[in-house]
């Protein structure tokens, strides 16, 4: 354990500390981090921590354990940065940020041809209030999207269930993106740059698809063709 210290890099951010962990097993990373905190408790006291774990794959129980250990030391975990989609998803489920504010690069125009190359995120559960899913591709949800939940995708959003939350498809401006749901009553609907409000009286029963036609959002019965 001679290189305990070299596992950890700490940087000050405007709104907290950014701790980057070098590649190692999670046990090593975790104990190195906690040991470091116990050495300098006054430095970490009350800190807001963003943790960059690189490619480490973390599951809910591991992250919850760490968060509780941190809160025992009066440190708040507010963001998790990771290259692993699993870890990102875990962090999102626990309501942690997965991106820290950097000066935003000019948004790039989206080339429609890319649609077929995009990957999809498959979610096999109901998204409850407070959950936010953001994915650079398509999102498929088998379950409901409850009021207060948010789904943002660069591609299509397909909900095999009731859509009651807020959705934004084609985040980067792809006007070919669609939003489909078996039961369609989103609180907010956006496709590319267009948004639409859904009036309760005009709700279409049965499966519905929303897409852009002639620069406007159109909502129609979802035909399987």
């Amino acid at each position: 354990m001679n290189d305990l210290r070299s596992l950890i890099q700490i940087k000050g951010l405007r709104d907290g500390l950014l701790v980057s962990l070098a590649d190692a097993s999670w046990e090593e990373q975790q104990s190195a981090l906690l040991a470091r905190m116990d050495q300098q408790p006054s430095f970490f006291q009350g800190a807001r921590l963003a943790l960059d774990v690189g490619a480490q794959v973390l599951h809910v129980n591991e992250l919850v354990e760490l968060r509780d250990q941190l809160s025992d030391r009066n440190v708040i975990l507010w963001a998790m940065l990771s290259e692993s989609p699993t870890t990102e998803q875990t962090a999102q489920l626990l309501g942690l940020a997965t991106r820290i504010s950097k000066p935003r690069p000019e948004e790039m125009r989206f080339a429609p041809e890319d649609q077929n190359n995009q990957t999809a995120l498959f979610i096999d559960k109901t998204l409850r209030s407070g959950t936010r899913i953001e994915f650079p591709g398509h999102v498929v949800i088998v379950g409901d999207v409850n009021p207060g939940a948010e789904v943002v995708a660069e591609g299509n959003i397909i909900v095999w269930g009731r859509l009651r939350g807020a959705v934004h498809a084609g985040l980067k401006g792809d006007e070919n993106s669609k939003v489909c749901a078996l039961d369609f009553a989103p609180m907010q609907l956006r496709i590319a740059e267009q948004s639409a409000s859904i009036k309760k009286e005009k709700q279409i029963l049965g499966p519905v698809a929303a897409f852009i036609r002639n620069g406007r959002v159109v909502i129609e019965s979802w035909k399987f063709s």
Partner: protein, 266 residues
């Protein structure tokens, strides 16, 4: 004997967490179970008031955690039920005085000598809430049939599911069957439909609950109160007994209703 730790939570404030804890505790204790209640709302305590024990507080849970007294010293015994205890919250501190592992330690110390440990969670989803759910074997999410309360309950359920806690059970509190009939209130079915978790009880709106809370005599001791009956049913279900749900639909079908039907006024 190893106690079951049950946390009552809601997200939104004012839906009846504290009242439910007090009522369930009395119902269980009346049944002969050994029950300890822990007030998790540090800084805004009121379980002691609802249980009618506020003038007996000497030590509180923060004293226990910070080693100023033994756990036994902070446990206040109820006036009438010798197997019912309250561990009060500190009023002069805040949520950061306690950590999730402190709560686990206190519960583990209590477990061998109790049947049930009920934890009253504070409103919100921050530190105090996480303290309250950390030691829980079971979480009851309580909501009112109102859109805002249901939204918050949904959020809480999402967090509990994410933390892989034993699936929470739902209590719908303050249901007014007449308003539901007039379509002016969400029905129990509407709430269940959205939240999609197991239902453990429906408590009807009942003025006696408020009176009981103010007097420090929870309504579950009153054999005539319907809300009290509902809380007793939940207590039995917590113990794994099958109790049929109360029928609220027929509450109004008294003499007056029948007269109205006969005279064709409905």
């Amino acid at each position: 004997m190893a106690a079951q730790v049950v946390t009552i939570s809601s997200g939104k404030g004012g839906v009846g967490k504290t009242t439910a804890v007090a009522n369930l505790a009395f119902a269980l204790a009346l049944d002969g179970d050994k029950v300890a209640c822990i007030d998790g709302d540090i800084g805004l305590r009121n379980l002691d008031v609802v249980m009618g024990l506020e003038n007996r507080i000497v030590y509180d849970i923060v004293d226990v955690i910070e080693g100023r007294c033994k756990l036994r010293q902070a446990m206040i015994r109820d006036k009438h039920l010798p197997e019912l205890y309250l561990i009060p919250a500190a009023q002069t501190r805040d949520k950061n005085a306690v950590s999730p592992s402190d709560m686990k330690r206190v519960c583990d110390e209590l477990r061998p000598s109790m049947d049930f440990i009920l934890i009253d969670s504070p409103a919100g989803i921050e530190r105090g809430f996480r303290n309250a759910i950390a030691p829980a074997d079971r979480v009851l999410v309580i909501t009112n049939p109102e859109v805002s309360a249901v939204r918050d309950a949904d959020r809480v359920i999402g967090i509990l599911e994410a933390e892989e806690k034993h699936s929470p059970a739902l209590v719908i509190n303050r249901l007014n069957p007449d308003l539901v009939k007039q379509h002016d209130m969400l029905s129990a079915e509407d709430v269940l439909d959205l939240l999609g978790i197991q239902l453990i009880g429906i408590v009807p709106e009942d003025e006696a609950v408020i009176v009981g809370s103010n007097r420090g005599v929870p309504v579950s001791q009153d054999p005539k109160s319907r809300a009290g009956q509902a809380f007793r049913n939940i207590a039995h279900r917590l113990k794994g007994q099958e109790v049929p749900f109360m029928d609220f639909g027929n509450k109004q079908s008294g003499l007056w209703d029948r007269i109205q039907k006969m005279t064709g006024r409905r």
